[in-house]
């Protein structure tokens, strides 16, 4: 079971953070499926809850945050929200590989990469450490690095792109088949970014992984992901096959986000800024649609009723303006029409 890509089913997940103003939801009622063997990209701005969602996959939300409701079912592991202590620690690394947001700085500066690899192996009770090193060297070689040299290096001897690749190696070396990449290319150059994204795609295919990419950059998702999910104010506002969503975005936020990217060709003045600014934990509206303050198609109902995610074929959108006209019986709730 651990040797093939697992599927993940997140259902009604709510994660709250304790603040002086009470418990506020950073992620609210999010349902998302990661199909086995797919790459899913989650796009969101700061405060959208995307990183919190990714941490929930490991059940690694730190206090003052906690998972308040919902479940995260991973094939071969069961509901990770119920795992505790030793079980959880084993699951991380062996089943789920996580490449942290600041992978460029997440290595221990005092130890060589090889030493850290051995620490990782020992803490997961790997008997064949030699085999682990061989595996690591192969992985690094696969990503275009000189494995032996990198394992002998300290963090400061590696460039940003190299560190990112080391992060990916550490996430995969224990043979995890579910990989979460949090902002894998932030602070990297265009060329390095393109290189890392290519590696992510190739390694994903070769090792048979289920991959989740978290990013603020729609371009990154467009390059690697099969499916795209857009988060805003703790809610998943739109999801669907990447090409379809980019080609014809339905949620006003997705539309605005895509329109706000200056492009290389065409009329540059077509790029439009989104008015307003993204909400923070404390300023997310308590009721109604989270995006209405900035929404060009705001209606009365948006102030009071939070739109439910509604499926239309493979695409799911949570917006009154989108679902109202098509909300006729027969067109909804069919997974693969």
């Amino acid at each position: 079971m651990a040797n093939q890509a697992p599927g993940v089913r997140i259902d009604g997940l709510t994660v709250v953070y304790k603040t002086p103003a009470g418990e506020l939801p950073a992620v609210r009622g999010v349902s998302l499926r990661l199909e086995p063997g797919s790459i899913t990209g989650i796009v969101g701005e700061s405060g959208s809850g995307k990183s919190t969602l990714a941490l929930s996959l490991l059940n690694a939300v730190q206090p003052p945050g906690r998972i308040a409701a919902g479940s995260v079912e991973i094939d071969g592991l069961g509901d990770v929200t119920g795992l505790r202590g030793e079980q959880l620690r084993k699951a991380r690394g062996k089943h789920i590989g996580y490449v942290f947001q600041a992978a460029q700085n997440s290595l221990n500066p005092l130890k060589t990469v090889g030493k850290q690899l051995l620490d990782l192996g020992r803490s997961h009770g790997v008997d064949d450490l030699r085999g682990l090193v061989r595996e690591a060297r192969e992985l690094l070689g696969r990503m275009g690095l000189d494995g032996a040299r990198v394992l002998d290096s300290h963090q400061h001897e590696l460039s940003g792109g190299m560190r990112q690749r080391v992060g990916i190696m550490l996430a995969l070396v224990l043979n995890a088949h579910l990989v979460v990449l949090d902002e894998p290319t932030t602070a990297l150059d265009m060329i390095t970014q393109a290189n890392i994204l290519k590696i992510v795609r190739e390694v994903h295919a070769e090792r048979g992984l289920t991959t989740l990419v978290i990013t603020h950059d729609i371009g990154v998702v467009a390059e690697v992901a099969d499916r795209l999910a857009v988060m805003y104010g703790g809610r998943l506002v739109e999801q669907g096959p990447t090409r379809e969503v980019l080609g014809a975005p339905r949620h006003p936020y997705t539309q605005g986000l895509i329109k706000a990217i200056p492009r290389l060709v065409g009329d540059i003045d077509e790029a439009r800024a989104l008015p307003g600014r993204p909400p923070a934990l404390a300023t997310v509206p308590k009721e109604g649609c989270v995006f209405r303050e900035r929404c060009p198609s705001r209606m009365d109902v948006c102030d009071t009723v939070d739109p439910e995610p509604t499926a239309d074929g493979p695409r799911i959108v949570a917006c009154h303006a989108v679902t109202a006209p098509v909300a006729e019986p027969g067109t909804l709730d069919k997974e693969h029409a």
Partner: protein, 336 residues
């Protein structure tokens, strides 16, 4: 407004026990940014674009070459005499979080440079307050709500606007924006870019944009000049739209090829250029600096350094022995 010829900057790195390592940040760069014009420096991190921006803003010294502001060569002046010239060129930092003093309110932040200005020109307190409100309004902030706030009470986008407002207090003739939107939320970035564009159009302020994202450079000034910088050397230079549409240097082409394609909206270019290896500063300085990574290199590239030149017919300059047009950028589906 500002021109530079043959600007050279070398950083000496200490550390190794024997012998200091030298990093050639700039190897003789020429540039010229007209009054009210726009220019963009693009390249990978460590290519020298930030160093050049800092030299232009007067925040860094240079070892060789000449910089002239408003026609006046800086080498003829003492450090003190240069200051008023460089003050006309204000830097907008990448990180709006560290660019504002967390212990000072927006009012205090704007007040300091305005007080200096008022003292020099003999203006009143009243003028200072009016001017503070004016620059805030110019950058799209409401003075009434923002003045008494501390930086931590503002969003990233608002902070960057305050940073720009602070630069405007000294009536600059040019703004140097170093990756000015990379740390700002995606939905707010275009707002800041639009502001810079707007300041350029309305106030006639020149804008120098330093970035690794060509598309944002194009947004600020499609009519401006683009400088593609590689390891301290300008390898291609010309009008933004020309270079985007018709890049001839393989390095420019690989930068443009690396821009993510919005599959579903766009189709990737037919002939993307991917560098053979990643940037390594310790590579030899002999021959063309890009040769080791260039898929189109030959023997000549390994031994001889190409200089910036204009091939007949092309509107841009480039430093390559084998310039060639290649279809590298993504185009909208609707267009193809």
């Amino acid at each position: 407004m500002i021109t530079g010829t043959g600007v050279v900057k070398t950083f000496k790195q200490r550390g190794k026990l024997l012998g200091a390592r030298e990093v050639r940040a700039l190897r003789g760069v020429d540039f010229s940014i007209p009054k009210g014009g726009a220019a963009s420096f693009i390249g990978e991190s460590g290519c020298g674009k930030t160093t050049l921006g800092r030299i232009i803003a007067g925040l860094e010294s240079y070892d060789e070459g000449e910089i002239a502001i408003g026609g006046e060569p800086m080498s003829a002046l003492t450090t003190k005499q240069r200051q008023p010239h460089f003050r006309k060129i204000q830097m907008i930092h990448q990180d709006p979080y560290s660019a504002l003093n967390p212990t000072r309110t927006v009012h205090q932040t704007l007040h300091a440079p305005l007080a200096l200005r008022a003292k020099q020109t003999g203006r009143s307190r009243q003028w200072m307050e009016e001017r503070a409100a004016e620059v805030l309004t110019l950058v799209g902030l409401d003075p009434g709500t923002v003045l008494a706030r501390y930086p931590h009470q503002l969003s990233g986008g608002m902070r960057q606007r305050v940073v720009i407002a602070r630069a405007l207090t000294v009536d600059p003739e040019m703004l140097v924006a170093d990756e000015a939107v990379s740390m700002i939320d995606v939905s707010l970035r275009l707002g800041i870019l639009a502001l810079l564009k707007d300041l350029r159009e309305r106030l006639g302020v020149s804008v120098l944009f330093i970035t690794h994202d060509v598309a944002t450079a194009r947004y600020i000034g499609a009519d401006g000049e683009l400088y593609v910088i590689y390891r301290g050397q300008v390898v291609e230079r010309g009008p933004v739209d020309t270079i985007i549409a018709d890049p001839v240097h393989p390095y420019t082409q690989s930068l443009l090829s690396a821009i993510p394609v919005l599959h579903g909206l766009e189709r990737p270019g037919e002939q993307p250029v991917v560098p053979l290896e990643s940037l390594d500063e310790s590579q030899s300085d002999e021959g063309c600096l890009f040769a080791r990574r260039c898929p189109f290199r030959d023997e000549r590239c390994a031994s001889e350094r190409p200089l910036l030149q204009i091939t007949t017919g092309a509107p841009q300059e480039h430093a390559c022995f084998h310039p060639a047009r290649r279809d590298v950028i993504a185009r909208p589906m609707s267009e193809v």
